[in-house]
């Protein structure tokens, strides 16, 4: 059903970003029907960072994300049907319906199940990177968090240890300016993400342009250094969430941010910018493909069964077997 992924970089970037956008827009549209069985944190508007960082990864690499994880799951190549089924709470979901939107995972492509407790997946990502180095395996780990994660003590502890041990990890902060309704100024004296990482001994850079290509280049340089055994790197990437923190709607009516601010950011749309690089014919082929993939995934989810009652008490402990 799912065709080969495009092999031209700009097409691939567009394809993945557009797939995320389309999938989430569908999810948002059907949300009021209660087909989706858990709260959703959408990435609409901020598809580029996840797609760009995954562009520089290899099969042996791993990624750790957050509860706002749809984009990373799709960008990393997680199965769309399994994701849709998970959102619908179905037994075919990537977590058999027990994980929901906040804990997506696709270990078969190196996407670990995500945490909904801000920043707390960071040391797990670090532990994974530790294991790669311990076993002298190739591969690097990407840990993507929001700007809010930087407030948490465990983030500082993790940066410090990763630098101390020279671990193969790329720390990425998706700075979308808000943690729920709180702007950066409620939380940090200055938004100096890079300076903080450097204080823990990690070379840092910042990407501010809303252009997936530019982001790929920025991530590539950092990932290259990590892969080269130079220890951790840090990248702050500026971005913006268009919808409410949790849920399917826009939220400028709440007053914590203005409609004007949102409009400015919509204007910088990473998807539109990327589309500008492509032929109309290519675009339309990709769009068609995306539409059918999304429809297929949702139909699959819809048709899938709910888990049985026995599933409630299964997997509390790992019993040696795998699903």
């Amino acid at each position: 059903m799912v065709a080969e992924a495009p092999d031209v970089r700009s097409e691939r970037l567009y394809y993945k970003m557009a797939l995320i956008r389309a999938f989430e827009e569908h999810i948002a549209a059907i949300y009021p029907t209660d087909a989706v069985k858990s709260p959703i944190h959408l990435s609409i508007g901020q598809e580029a960072p996840a797609v760009a960082v995954c562009e520089v990864l290899r099969p042996e690499d791993a990624v750790f994300g957050t509860y706002r994880g749809h984009a990373l799951y799709i960008a990393r190549g997680g199965n769309l049907r399994a994701m849709a089924a998970e959102l619908f709470g179905k037994a075919n979901g990537c977590g058999r319906g027990k994980a929901g939107s906040m804990h997506l995972g696709a270990p078969e492509v190196g996407m670990m199940f995500t945490s909904a407790i801000v920043a707390t997946g960071a040391p797990n990502a670090m532990g994974y990177a530790f294991a790669l180095k311990y076993r002298q395996q190739p591969g690097i780990v990407v840990c993507m968090v929001g700007d809010g994660a930087v407030d948490e003590g465990v983030w500082a502890e993790s940066l410090n240890f990763s630098a101390l041990k020279g671990l193969p990890i790329l720390w990425v902060v998706e700075n979308n300016l808000y943690a729920i309704h709180a702007p950066l100024s409620n939380r940090m004296p200055r938004p100096n993400f890079c300076q903080r990482a450097e204080a823990y001994g990690i070379p840092a850079s910042r990407i501010a342009e809303q252009d997936a290509d530019v982001m790929v280049d920025g991530f590539a340089a950092a990932a290259e250094a990590v892969r080269d055994g130079q220890g951790p790197r840090f990248v702050e990437v500026e971005t913006y969430r268009w919808r409410e923190h949790v849920g399917p709607n826009e939220d400028t009516s709440l007053g914590y941010r203005t409609a004007e601010e949102l409009a400015v950011w919509k204007d910088k749309d990473c998807l539109k910018r990327c589309a500008g690089n492509l032929d109309v014919a290519v675009l339309s082929a990709l769009d068609t493909r995306i539409a059918s993939e999304v429809a297929d995934a949702l139909a699959f989810a819809e048709a899938s069964p709910y888990p049985d009652d026995e599933d409630l008490l299964r997997h509390v402990f790992h019993d040696g077997g795998c699903v």
């Binding site: 858990s38 709470g89 179905k90 319906g97 929901g100 003590g153 949790v246 007053g255 409630l312």
Partner: protein
């Protein structure tokens, strides 16, 4: 003078009255001054009392809890709001190693008048990390008080008592209760900790239920009445200290005690209540005991499993029926999900 208030409004009123009467009372935590004001319980307090008395914080649960403990040492009366009890796992050190210890190590020369508000689930689809109760962990530690009021009346009385208390008090608030309505005295009043409330009398079985499970237990009582079983429903209100005499007296009378917790069973409030009732009554009364609570698993998100994870009015009634009529075939009343659960659509 009483007013008909929601649980959320009652909490707001309690905090508002304390802030008005004592300039040392302040409220802080993630999102307390945001447009939603934690289910209205802190709404616009920053406008009313100034941003220094109601403020948002960084995502730094550990240091922010420690901030409150330190401010309390200096004589202020901080109220720290956690959007979810699950986040308390990040500040257990401050609660258990610090807040609970200062009075003791200083032989009473220091005090920690600190209120930690913790919101517990369910709502829906919250899953493994956003629906835990965990108050049993805090009940375990000498030096902490834990209350879990169920009615708007008790919410107000507990909150004011907690704020005025010279010790750390954890106030457990269930998300499904914020919209519950009831009569509440308009004036400030306090509820003494350690007094259980007999919500409805009964003669055949004693049901002790915690937080939102009280609501389900009252519904179960109605089901049971239809099959001729008379259940007494008790809300402990305060979990530490626990009012065991009231529960033990009721259970001695009915001969049957079912504890319905809003938490896992092992080393939970249910185990503590049952053990203390047995300790207090053994040799004098033979009480048949049982308990219900979360399924022994993390909370799943999908609705069918989530519904099986929690006790509800029908499973509670069925359990009581089986306890009291072991020779009969199993029975469970008809019915569906509680309206407040179906109605809940956030905020999360």
């Amino acid at each position: 003078m009483h007013a008909d208030l929601s649980y959320g409004e009652a909490l707001y009123q309690a905090i508002d009255q304390c802030m008005a009467e004592d300039s040392g009372v302040f409220v802080y935590g993630l999102g307390v001054d945001d447009p939603k004001g934690h289910y209205g319980t802190t709404k616009d307090l920053h406008v009313r009392y100034g941003a220094h008395r109601c403020f948002d914080t960084p995502l730094s649960e550990d240091a922010m809890t420690g901030l409150g403990v330190g401010a309390a040492l200096a004589g202020l009366r901080p109220i720290h709001v956690h959007q979810r009890m699950d986040f308390l796992l990040l500040c257990m050190n401050q609660l258990v190693n610090m807040a609970a210890k200062y009075a003791y190590i200083s032989a009473g020369r220091l005090k920690v008048p600190f209120v930690e508000r913790a919101c517990i689930g369910r709502s829906w689809g919250q899953g493994a990390q956003h629906s835990q109760s965990l108050y049993a962990m805090l009940m375990h530690v000498p030096g902490l008080k834990v209350v879990a009021p169920t009615t708007p009346h008790d919410a107000k009385g507990c909150m004011i008592a907690a704020i005025r208390d010279d010790n750390p008090v954890i106030v457990v608030e269930h998300r499904m209760l914020y919209a519950t309505r009831g009569l509440v005295p308009k004036a400030a009043f306090t509820l003494p900790f350690g007094e259980a409330r007999i919500l409805e009398p009964g003669s055949d079985v004693t049901i002790v239920a915690v937080s939102h499970m009280v609501v389900e237990a009252l519904r179960a009582r109605a089901h049971l009445a239809k099959v001729g079983i008379s259940a007494e429903v008790i809300d402990p209100v305060s979990l530490m200290p626990l009012d065991i005499p009231t529960i033990a007296a009721s259970a001695s009378r009915t001969g049957h005690l079912l504890v319905v917790d809003n938490d896992w069973l092992p080393c939970g409030a249910s185990a503590e209540i049952i053990t203390r009732v047995i300790e207090e009554t053994q040799g004098r009364a033979a009480i048949h005991v049982a308990r219900m609570g979360f399924a022994e698993a993390p909370c799943p998100t999908t609705k069918p499993l989530e519904s099986a994870f929690y006790p509800n009015d029908r499973t509670i009634a069925a359990k009581v029926y089986a306890m009291l009529r072991p020779d009969h075939s199993k029975w469970q009343p008809d019915g569906g999900e509680a309206p407040e659960i179906t109605a809940f659509r956030g905020p999360f």
